[in-house]
Symmetry: C2
Subunit: 126 residues, 2 copies
């Protein structure tokens, strides 16, 4: 079974964390044909943390997990912290194939998303 | 003439700021049929700041400007800081139509982008 684990920083502001959990819920419905499990996890400041998020995927039956950094830029969290945490957690689950996806700013679709957002606002310009 | 001004937080890490400037360059080429001007600006910690970014668009000939918050969540920067700065700057440019686009996490295309990023990593899973 294939899992996706969107990972974001975590905020002291509950609403921001709830947005990411809602996003995972939306993603679960959206990609249910391709991915069996979608959970969400946080780097810090909110539950569940990444190691527990990975463990939750394993408990749900995942045999492969894609950690999806919900970050726009290749900040230190993306290039160091998340890989370090995932690497040490993966060592505890040697039978599970765990990979980290590129951060979102690296996606070719980002251009389409930016233009779509601009067009949304443009619709308000008279 | 229509302008887009992607706005991000700004970082002490130069590479993160350079990524956003590169993104604006890429976007300029990508949407040149729809938008005449694409600049980039920062909320803090990096140049140019939002008021100067708006002024730069005006100097480039913009008659409408869409400020595009390059943020994933509706953090305080998105719901308070950027609107406050844009509002006070807009008051200095009463002839220019200035709007703020939704943050990126609000876009319907975000689901496609997330799945595409996961698929990129999935390609590495044997």
């Amino acid at each position: 079974m294939k899992a996706i684990l969107p990972v974001t920083h975590g905020s002291r502001r509950k609403q921001s964390n709830d947005e990411v959990i809602s996003l995972a819920d939306k993603l679960r419905n959206y990609c249910s044909q391709q991915y069996d499990i979608v959970n969400a996890a946080f780097l810090e400041l909110a539950e569940v943390l990444i190691p527990d998020g990975i463990k939750q995927c394993v408990n749900d039956g995942a045999t492969s997990i894609i950690v999806l950094p919900y970050f726009l830029n290749s900040v230190r969290h993306v290039v160091e912290d998340i890989p370090n945490i995932v690497s040490s957690t993966a060592a505890q689950h040697p039978d599970i194939d765990i990979k980290i996806a590129p951060h979102l700013g690296a996606s070719n679709l980002m251009m389409d998303l930016l233009v779509a957002s601009a067009d949304t606002a443009r619709g308000q310009i008279t």
